[in-house]
Point group: C2
Chain length 345, copies 2
């Protein structure tokens, strides 16, 4: 019953032609090699009847490429990355590439492993949302012949093509919005320290403060990663000291953080925006449907997948060293009801 053994050779033998001919016809090169209509027809029909599937592995070995693109994301469970994966996959399929998926789990060791693995599968390129703390292994991969495109995070001074969103501007705008509403004591819930999105988001926050001559208080920037749990525990801390600190607003740098934060607030009965205001990074389908409709910074771009694949393909084609232009996507502030206007008092 195994149909895996329908090979070019097998077809060639049944039809008493050469493997070469079969290969050519099945690759649509029949005309070009002026193989007789008869033979072409015959081969096509037989292949179909036998349910022939070309063996991509053999092809890959011979061609030294796999028509496959590796995708590494920290956590496919995060809707932002899932959306990315979906788009990348769709776009890749259009160009007859397939996707090898890896979760790096925000773990540098795993990230490195993933890259090694993908290379050993001879992927033609890798789209990666890197952890973002270290770039050596990425540079090495790139140099060793695997084109890369970085998403969301990049490295200052490292020459790897990337697509990112203007997180700095987004945060600046979000924080400014809080300030415009009369907030001065604004906590910043941050993600993984040292990664470019975090740097940018925190820096945007700082810049907004500075622009408004509000002194920056390092104690107000808390958190360790982009996860739910982090948001939850940070929120508990904030709540405990609310009287002392007189914090009136929070700027959260990630949607998972925000979810944890909301959970804590809900449990403790702290009202948003009455008792505390909130603006969060990462617009979600449900942002509008939460117990307090959330004001968010949206930085999910419709054609991100398209862009990423194009940037990768671009590197395949041009043997020339045409350096692909990095892309910075715009983010945008969506205003809902999670911020209280203190000026109206």
């Amino acid at each position: 019953m195994k149909n895996n053994n329908v090979t070019l050779k097998y077809i060639a033998q049944t039809l008493d032609v050469s493997v070469t001919t079969v290969s050519r016809v099945l690759n649509g090169l029949g005309e070009q090699f002026r193989i007789s209509k008869n033979t072409i027809e015959l081969i096509l029909v037989t292949a179909d009847k036998l349910n022939y599937r070309s063996n991509n592995i053999a092809k890959g070995l011979r061609l030294k490429k796999s028509s496959t693109i590796g995708l590494i994301v920290p956590d496919i469970t995060n809707s932002w990355f899932a959306q990315l994966a979906l788009e990348i996959e769709k776009e890749a399929r259009k160009h007859h590439y397939n996707i090898f998926l890896c979760n790096s789990n925000d773990d540098l060791k795993i990230e490195k492993k993933c890259i090694a693995l993908l290379q050993s599968w001879m992927v033609d390129g890798i789209v990666i949302v890197p952890l973002g703390l270290e770039s050596e292994h990425l540079v090495k991969a790139s140099k060793s012949g695997t084109p890369l495109v970085l998403i969301d995070r990049f490295f200052e001074g490292v020459n790897l093509p990337y697509i990112t969103s203007n997180d700095f501007e987004g945060s600046l705008e979000a924080t400014q919005y809080l300030i415009n509403n009369g907030h001065k004591k604004i906590a910043c819930f941050q993600g993984i320290v040292g990664t470019s999105p975090n740097n940018q988001r925190v820096n945007g926050y700082k810049k907004a403060l500075k622009n408004n001559k509000i002194p920056f208080d390092p104690a107000l920037v808390i958190g360790t990663d982009f996860g739910y749990h982090n948001g939850y525990t940070c929120a508990l801390k904030i709540i405990k000291d609310l009287d002392k600190t007189e914090i009136t607003a929070i700027f959260s740098t990630g949607n998972q953080i925000t979810l944890g934060l909301l959970k804590a607030f809900k449990e403790k009965g702290v009202k948003i925006p009455d008792e505390i205001s909130l603006v969060s990074f990462d617009e979600q389908v449900y942002s509008d449907l939460l117990f307090t409709p959330l004001s968010t910074v949206s930085h999910l771009n419709e054609n991100l997948g398209d862009l990423a694949i194009k940037m990768l393909l671009n590197q395949f084609d041009t043997n020339a060293k045409v350096k692909p232009k990095n892309v910075v996507l715009k983010s945008k502030l969506i205003i809902r009801d999670s911020v209280k206007n203190l000026n109206l008092k």
Copy 2:
């Protein structure tokens, strides 16, 4: 700079030993073949120094297997599937398998393509959340030597191993809960008609009605698929005729449907549970944090990934025809505040 050309042969030549020896050592078979400590050491060091990566493609071709598992889900963007993907991937990695991801996009044609593709990559097995309307191609794949595990959806009378949750019981319980709260006119927002989860969920709903001697009204079962848009439009319809139909509650069969539904209700200012009650399938991280904390049926099982991979591996090992036992996971009703108790009036 390309390190792809560090092959066994290359190492063998530099060290003036045979390819076989190198292969053996690098596969940890040095001891077994009683290759001298010296040689072993030498090879290991050299391979490391040269940054050798075994070529999985060549290996796959030779071994006629790829140490790779295909995963086909309808839509990675759906958090349920994303969660599944994450677990499957983690679990697979533990057993040194890697994941080939495909989105079938709830499209049978794409689903078929995905399977063909995965087979052409000689995946050792496929974990699939099938569309669920047709099974021929799956049976064919299975017969042609690719072990399969179906998730979430299965086919009556078709002998393919599956893991599913007890959607029937879950729906029965959910609907009974609505009835217990005095609801009699209950709308059912369904997904793709004909798929097993939908059948089960709708049947559970019907059974609950029957158990309580409430006549079943086919007009109350509406919807076409598990998507956001479907939920949205169905909800608009319901809202328009609310006075006439006197519907007091909705049982939604999927989380995306529910999101669309909530959006519509919010837009139209219909209050939950005051004006209409709601129970939804699919617990989400944010279910508790919505404008009305949602009562849901949770059917996300912690070790689903583990199970799926085990069922697949099981099929690899045993050449014997030990048919794997199908698994039906329990679902559970989580009660929050989206249902009004009509008995209290």
